[in-house]
């Protein structure tokens, strides 16, 4: 039963990732990305990462994907969105990617991983929270400052030109 769910989730993930890679309409690519993120969240659950699955749904599907859709709508003329996303160098890229996939899956299947058997499923939220507040406290704080800086920078960058115009009189007064 779990194996069947795993196969279905993998197919959902990979097929929608192929749609992202292959579709020439950038809006369809964004919708494919939505289903890829959902499939990846399901795979997290099967690998006993329940907190990460919820985070994936909240941050990726609720945040990043909405951001990407906004960028698509703001940066493409929707009427000619079929022309908005052409692909170049398809055949060489496909050859490289398929060869790389073959190499990576060959390595993954033929390596003797030091797998521990009998790992049971358990909630991870409490463990992760404790680790973030003890062993990984410094990276946690650094990454939160980084996120704050990035978001402030993004807000500043995407402000309309009127923001710059509002600054100019002040500078002229300074002169």
């Amino acid at each position: 039963m779990v194996d069947l769910v795993f196969v279905l989730l993998s197919m959902l993930t990979v097929v929608s990732a192929l749609i992202v890679a292959g579709n020439s309409n950038v809006i369809y690519s964004a919708v494919g990305l939505l289903f890829t993120f959902m499939g990846v969240a399901g795979l997290y659950v099967l690998a006993s990462a329940d907190f990460l699955a919820a985070t994936q749904m909240l941050v990726y599907v609720g945040g990043i994907l909405v951001l990407i859709l906004f960028a698509v709508f703001l940066s493409n003329r929707i009427s000619d969105s079929k022309l908005s996303n052409p692909t170049h160098m398809r055949v060489p890229s496909a050859i490289v990617c398929i060869a790389l996939f073959g190499l990576m899956s060959h390595a993954a299947v033929n390596t003797e991983w030091a797998v521990k058997t009998g790992v049971e499923y358990a909630p991870t939220t409490a463990v992760l929270g404790r680790l973030l507040m003890t062993k990984y406290l410094l990276p946690f704080e650094v990454v939160s400052v980084l996120l704050l800086a990035a978001l402030i920078g993004a807000a500043l960058l995407s402000r309309p030109e009127s923001g710059k115009a509002a600054c100019k009189p002040d500078m002229e007064e300074g002169k």
Partner: protein, 100 residues
């Protein structure tokens, strides 16, 4: 369902992302490819964390990857919006005014 199957799914996702990055010129589509690759890396982290005996470091690392991806998407998309306002398109080929 075993470790190597997770790794094969992750490799497929990685190659889809790589193909997207190699073939597209649209900046937003490039960003989608980057997100696919980051997700592939995250699947690897989580799968190793589960199958190598509940080592929680992998899941912690995946959390950090998600945070970095959010920051990167916000900054990249605002840059592309600015590029669209100045150059009129988000094709990354058109952003060559420094060269010309």
């Amino acid at each position: 369902m075993s470790l190597d199957k997770f790794l094969v799914v992750s490799a497929a996702l990685f190659c889809c992302g790589l193909y997207t990055i190699m073939t597209r010129r649209n900046g937003v589509a490039l960003l989608m490819g980057v997100e696919l690759i980051l997700n592939a890396a995250n699947i690897n982290f989580v799968a190793f964390s589960h199958y190598l005996g509940k080592v929680m470091g992998g899941q912690i690392f995946a959390v950090f990857v998600i945070v970095i991806a959010a920051a990167e998407a916000a900054v990249a998309l605002s840059i592309f919006l600015r590029l669209f306002a100045t150059a009129g398109s988000v094709e990354v080929d058109t952003a060559d005014s420094l060269k010309n």
